[in-house]
């Protein structure tokens, strides 16, 4: 460990692993350390099942749960948008070769105590029972507008400037009612709250486009989920980093981040060893004095021995409960994966209900989500703080990622990573750097 590195990355969560991979690919000498003896930190998938039970101090699982080794339970639920930034990162870096994915079977939205399939194209819109007859026609027109919309071609804007006018105005232009606005904004554009209504419409239009382009890629739903759980993602990027020369050390406690002149980082100490470096990249848990709490996220892992009602027995699905439907100001998300993804024993389902905490009694807040699940065999609730760095890291050269938020996809994760990379290296990540080399490598 007593060596000199360009960058030391602390923690092997997904964000840190992507960063480590990008830095190694860019020619930096990287040391990547985790205090745990497993990869993934908070973004790990817990295996075997016994470990999950003991983590939450529950009595060990009985035989009905099958082999414990067959389980890989995520602590943070998320899906990949098939055409989103994480998939682009995976493909461009070649990490996709280490992974296999399955399309999530359905995407649902909650309305008036029931769930309905999220309509995305004109045909589905007309068949959907989310809207009345006249509303369907209006929604269809709106979808056509979004589909034809090209950000760089004002002709497709149809007398509406999406850069200056807000989303509320666009809804009004198409006379969409509150209900339609609700599922469009939350289940298609995947906004977490209603603040988007007052922001320029272009943001939401692009999000809806991302949704429908993602859907077009593999069908059924716009979401993908990796076999063996989300914990495979950090491992894949860690491998990328290692292939490009990154050094990996697990099970290595970090005792101090050593600062030098002007509060600039000069190294990292573990016991008596000091590794020198010019920069540190880490998750909030390694620098508690350099982050502040911005909120809380509640996540409830539910083990089920049956699929969710009204989802056509889908083996994987996402249900979004828009805030207004249950009198909240942030959405509740339900994600379901199952044995088909090799994350549970045969016949088992893992549902995760999560949301941003708004009250002192978060468990009550997620009740509408839990109520959709039917009989829950086992439930594990965790409330975690959401941290943000107190500064941009340019002074100290310590770049800190944000905690994982309540969103059900990785778009914000990637934005954070790309932003940190830019701050740390002063440049955007150059995807061309890696593609060339991959060409050589393939036989």
């Amino acid at each position: 460990m007593d060596e000199e590195y360009d960058c030391i990355v602390l923690g092997t969560g997904l964000k840190e692993c992507i960063l480590s991979g990008m830095l190694s690919v860019s020619g930096k000498k990287v040391l990547h350390v985790d205090r745990n003896k497993y990869y993934g930190g908070e973004s790990a998938s817990i295996c075997p099942l016994e470990e999950l039970f003991s983590k939450f101090a529950a009595a060990p699982p009985d035989e009905s749960y099958g082999r414990g080794r067959d389980w890989n339970v995520d602590l943070i639920p998320k899906f990949l948008m098939a055409n989103g930034s994480l998939v682009k990162l995976l493909i461009h870096t070649g990490v996709t070769r280490y992974l296999e994915f399955k399309s999530v079977e359905g995407s649902y939205v909650y309305k008036g105590g029931k769930i309905a399939k999220v309509p995305v194209d004109q045909k589905e819109a007309l068949a959907s029972d989310l809207m009345g007859v006249f509303e369907k026609r209006r929604f269809r027109n709106f979808l056509v507008y979004v589909q034809d919309f090209q950000a760089d071609d004002p002709k497709t804007w149809k007398d509406f400037d999406p850069n200056t006018q807000n989303m509320q105005a666009l809804y009004e232009k198409y006379s969409l009612d509150k209900n339609t606005q609700d599922f469009t904004g939350h289940a298609l554009a995947l906004h977490r709250d209603d603040s988007y209504l007052n922001r320029p419409a272009i943001e939401t239009v692009n999000r809806i486009k991302l949704y429908s382009e993602s859907l077009a890629r593999y069908g059924k739903s716009p979401y993908l989920y990796p076999m063996y759980g989300l914990g495979e993602l950090p491992q894949g990027f860690a491998r990328l980093s290692a292939i490009y020369g990154g050094t990996y050390m697990l099970d290595k406690p970090i005792d101090e981040i050593v600062l030098g002149e002007g509060g600039r980082v000069v190294g990292v100490r573990s016991g008596n060893e000091i590794a020198k470096c010019k920069q540190v990249y880490c998750d909030p848990t390694y620098v508690p004095d350099k982050v502040h709490k911005k909120g809380k996220v509640i996540r409830c892992i539910c083990l089920l021995d049956h699929p969710i009602a009204n989802t056509k027995d889908a083996l994987s699905t996402q249900i979004i409960i828009p805030q207004k439907q249950v009198g909240r100001s942030s959405d509740i998300y339900v994600s379901v994966v199952s044995y088909t993804h090799q994350v549970a024993a045969k016949g088992w389902f893992i549902a995760m209900v999560s949301t941003t905490v708004e009250t002192d009694n978060p468990e009550v807040e997620i009740k509408p989500g839990l109520d959709l699940l039917g009989t829950i065999r086992q439930k594990f609730v965790s409330v975690s703080d959401y941290f943000e760095p107190t500064d941009d890291g340019l002074q100290s050269q310590i770049f800190i990622s944000q905690s994982y938020d309540a969103t059900t996809h990785f778009e914000t994760t990637c934005l954070d990573v790309l932003d940190i990379f830019k701050r740390g290296t002063g440049e955007e990540f150059d995807f061309s750097k890696i593609k060339h080399e991959l060409g050589d490598e393939e036989q």
């Binding site: 295996c47 399955k102 077009a216 593999y218 491992q235 292939i243 050390m249 697990l250």
Partner: protein, 284 residues
């Protein structure tokens, strides 16, 4: 009688080939020093050009010999013009072993027929593929190198995941690496699929005069644990193709196991996948 003559003839051909190869390797190595000398003298002598031409010819011969040997090894059942019409089976093969025992060198020798005396610690290519023809079956190995992650016990579970074959490598001149190899075998038995085919490779056989691990000791250990075992040399190519071939033979080749990269499980993502979507999902 005829068969015996043929066999002995084949063996002698192999013998001749092998020694011719060694000679070539020496010449190739020699070439390098000639170049260096010429460079040092600053002489652009015509002589070296001739030599370069000569060595190039030899190298191409070397390549041919390599091929001949490979076909010889793949067994008599294969026809020279053997159109491989049979099925293709793909397997994930992982390499394990202490740092610097020659894991990458073995792969490089097997996949590209190359050997570098001072192979750097694994950087860059850690995902190679190579195919072997076995009777009517084409076996495609998807070979995973550790990328150095074994060094501080930081190999990810993903590495073992779905691996159908493993080569555990040790260095015959270093007893410790043999001990580590045993640990890796245990690790595989614990973490990997119960049906995994494991081969033990005692590498650096060319340094047999510095041997610290006896052949018999390793063979006994391998027998006790149901492992394939060979002593190999990435440097001289000894047993390199053979060990992969032995693994290929031992792997089950029914449909179920060959679905590694396929759609039986999940899907691999690729660029421009949009075109690959199932027509049934297209509702335009």
């Amino acid at each position: 009688m005829l068969a015996a003559v043929l066999t002995s003839f084949r063996q002698s051909v192999i013998f001749v080939c092998y020694h011719f190869r060694l000679l070539c390797i020496k010449l190739v190595l020699h070439r390098k020093t000639i170049y260096e000398k010429a460079f040092l003298c600053g002489r652009k002598a015509i002589g070296t050009l001739v030599i370069r031409d000569l060595t190039r010819k030899i190298t191409s011969k070397l390549f041919l010999v390599n091929k001949i040997m490979a076909t010889n090894r793949t067994g008599a059942a294969q026809r020279p013009n053997g159109a491989t019409q049979g099925k293709i089976c793909q397997f994930k093969l992982v390499l394990l072993g202490e740092s610097a025992v020659g894991k990458s060198s073995l792969v490089l020798r097997f996949v590209k027929g190359q050997f570098h005396e001072y192979q750097e610690s694994t950087i860059g290519a850690a995902f190679l593929t190579q195919t072997i023809c076995l009777d009517d079956t084409t076996v495609k190995f998807e070979i995973w190198d550790t990328a150095g992650q074994e060094r501080y016990h930081s190999l990810a579970p993903m590495y073992y995941r779905g691996a159908q074959a493993a080569i555990v490598v040790y260095d015959i001149t270093n007893q410790d690496t043999f001990g580590r190899a045993k640990t890796w075998v245990k690790e595989l038995q614990r973490q990997a699929s119960p049906t995994i085919v494991i081969a033990l490779a005692g590498n650096k056989q060319d340094l047999a005069n510095k041997r610290m691990v006896e052949y018999e000791e390793a063979q006994t250990y391998a027998d006790e644990n149901g492992l394939l075992f060979m002593e190999t040399s990435a440097k001289t190519a000894m047993n390199v193709n053979d060990i992969f071939l032995a693994i290929a033979k031992k792997l089950p080749k029914n449909e179920q196991t060959s679905g590694q990269g396929g759609s039986a499980q999940g899907r691999r993502l690729a660029e421009g996948d949009a075109g690959a979507k199932a027509p049934g999902n297209c509702c335009k």
